[in-house]
């Protein structure tokens, strides 16, 4: 942790933050307070975002970019303002490089999908290779498997070290002249690992490959500068960054968005349509077929504003402190092992662990009876689990509203789990 990050935590008042999130006041069964440690799965939403959604529907609801009337003007202005806000939030200088999708999965499928049909050198075909990693979320694996299967290309991947980091030792054998695309998670949703995406991007660009970064866990947690990563595309998702469901983002370099073929076809993405053939609108419209998630984009704009208000450096510092505290707490329990980096160094907030002798479903069931919400299963990262010889794990993931007291409740709960299942 840098001094800057420590400094940033000083002004961070987690109780004031919590007051913005109505659901955190909720009581569960047996009148237990909610201890929500499933934020890597989806985050909770502050009042500010709920209000933006509600006010949109109540006062300004209209379709966008199509209508010449006052509501249409208002909704269009709000929608495009949200695009500009999101662009600024991730350090993109040109709002036209921000494409709204339905989630990060669609963003990743969009890139993989159009590469099957691209003209010229970008097109992925037989003999070409796509490189991913063994720690990817299924949403950054399956689209590339489908692309490779369908085009005759070959999928290759970075393996992992025992500590849960990318094994970059074979990089020169993996990223070669045959590589067309390299797609990597910035922050792992299972192991928590923060990957050196800028280094990988540099190497990939040397061989002329496109670089896709799955920023789904990075954008909610870290100050992000998409262009600074060196990536060509960065995907992320609204619901994990205190925004609504139903909205994702694909940031892409404008030349690429201009050059690549369309993904979904339909209303709003066209320049002109004749029965005999059509031409496309410039990006971002080109990749936003049909009525977009309007209220959701506006909600995401409010979410970005909310995060900017807290300051992403402060959010990252808080996340870092809580993660370190969680790792420490878990270390204190015998029979518990963490998958992924065990120290809070280059590490995001997802902490996956196994409790010897107790299946993750049973761990989380007992924790739930104490009001502690964690995730049990493979967290959409089966290959990473297989790499560590387990089928599933329990994952605690903190966020900007998480307190140390909540982590204490988690640790206490795990002790109870072990007693309940008589492994303590």
């Amino acid at each position: 942790m840098t001094t800057g990050m420590i400094a940033a935590t000083v002004g961070y008042d987690v109780e004031r933050v919590r007051a913005d999130f109505p659901i955190l006041a909720r009581r569960l069964a047996d009148d237990r307070p909610l201890v929500y440690l499933d934020s890597a799965n989806t985050s909770q939403k502050p009042e500010q975002v709920l209000r933006a959604l509600d006010e949109h529907y109540r006062w300004r609801n209209s379709n966008v970019g199509r209508a010449v009337h006052q509501l249409g003007d208002a909704a269009t202005a709000d929608y495009e303002a949200a695009r500009a806000t999101v662009a600024t939030f991730v350090g993109a200088t040109d709002p036209a490089e921000v494409v709204f999708t339905k989630n990060a999965s669609e963003s990743l499928n969009l890139v993989a999908g159009v590469l099957a049909w691209a003209d010229g050198a970008r097109r992925v075909g037989p003999g070409d290779e796509v490189v991913i990693t063994e720690m990817e979320h299924h949403s950054n694996i399956v689209p590339w498997q489908l692309l490779c299967e369908r085009t005759g290309a070959t999928l290759r991947w970075f393996g992992l070290t025992d500590e849960g980091r990318l094994d970059l030792s074979g990089v020169d054998a993996l990223i070669t002249e045959r590589t067309k695309v390299v797609s990597v998670a910035w922050v792992s949703n299972m192991l928590g690992t923060v990957n050196p995406v800028a280094d990988i991007a540099r190497r990939a660009h040397e061989v002329g490959a496109l670089v896709v970064v799955d920023g789904s866990q990075a954008v909610p947690q870290l100050p992000v500068d998409v262009a600074g990563t060196g990536a060509d595309f960065v995907a992320f998702t609204g619901h994990k960054m205190v925004g609504p469901t139903g909205i994702g983002v694909l940031w892409g370099r404008r030349e690429l968005l201009e050059e690549l073929p369309p993904f979904l076809g339909g209303g709003s993405m066209i320049e002109t349509v004749r029965m005999e053939g059509s031409t496309w609108a410039p990006p971002p419209a080109k990749y936003e077929a049909g009525t977009p998630p309007i209220a959701e984009a506006i909600g995401l704009g409010a979410a970005a504003d909310y995060l900017s208000g807290l300051g992403m450096a402060a959010v990252a510092a808080h996340e870092h402190a809580i993660t370190a505290y969680t790792l420490e707490g878990l270390r204190s329990i015998s029979g518990v092992s963490v998958l992924g980096p065990t120290e809070a160094v280059d590490r995001g907030g997802a902490v996956s662990f196994v409790v010897d002798g107790v299946h993750p479903h049973d761990v989380s069931q007992v924790l739930d009876s104490y009001g502690v919400a964690v995730r049990a299963g493979h967290h959409c990262a089966k290959p990473a689990h297989r790499r560590f010889g387990v089928q599933s794990s329990t994952r605690a993931s903190a966020y900007l509203y998480t307190t140390k007291t909540e982590i204490d409740t988690l640790v206490d709960g795990i002790h109870r789990v072990r007693k309940y299942f008589k492994v303590a």
């Binding site: 299946h359 479903h361 049973d362 493979h378 689990h385 089928q391 309940y420």
Partner: protein, 157 residues
């Protein structure tokens, strides 16, 4: 939310000492089922005695990785169906399915379901219903394959 309503002593007993575990010969069909949500897996074999409509479940054997609920459920199921005519075992399957999908409102029949009544509480924990059903689904599928196989042999004969 009472944990003990879910984790009945019988369930924990079966979980710790599962019956009929391990894959065995002979068998007529083998299936592999996965719970997509958590990754739990089961490989299950069924051996039927006889080849006509009046088949009996001669053996069920399995290799399963999963939580207490899914492990205990397949153990209890094996106890229940081994030795029963296929038709009767299928009725038990249906009864168990009804119990699981009943949101806790279905009163289980102890005479027929025996130890499986202990799973009545699972119906109140929606996320765990799939766990309790994993073994039963694999079994039903295996029986379907085992009974289909000879038929298609006849058809092609």
């Amino acid at each position: 939310m009472s944990l003990d309503a879910l984790y009945q002593e019988i369930i924990l007993d079966h979980y710790r000492r599962p019956h009929h575990a391990g894959l065995r010969e002979p068998y007529d069909a083998e299936t592999r089922h996965v719970n997509p949500t958590c990754g739990d897996e089961i490989t299950l074999r069924v051996h039927l005695s006889g080849t006509t409509a009046g088949d009996t479940v001669a053996d069920v054997s399995y290799d399963a990785e999963g939580c207490s609920i899914s492990q205990a459920s397949v153990s209890v199921m094996s106890d229940l169906v081994i030795g029963k005519p296929v038709a009767d075992a299928m009725t038990l399957h249906d009864e168990f399915l009804t119990l699981m999908q009943g949101r806790g409102a279905v009163e289980p029949d102890e005479d027929t379901l025996e130890d499986a009544v202990a799973f009545a509480g699972v119906a109140k924990f929606p996320a765990r219903i799939k766990c309790a059903l994993l073994g039963w689904m694999a079994w039903k599928d295996a029986v379907a394959q085992a009974t289909r196989a000879p038929m298609s042999k006849e058809e092609t004969a």
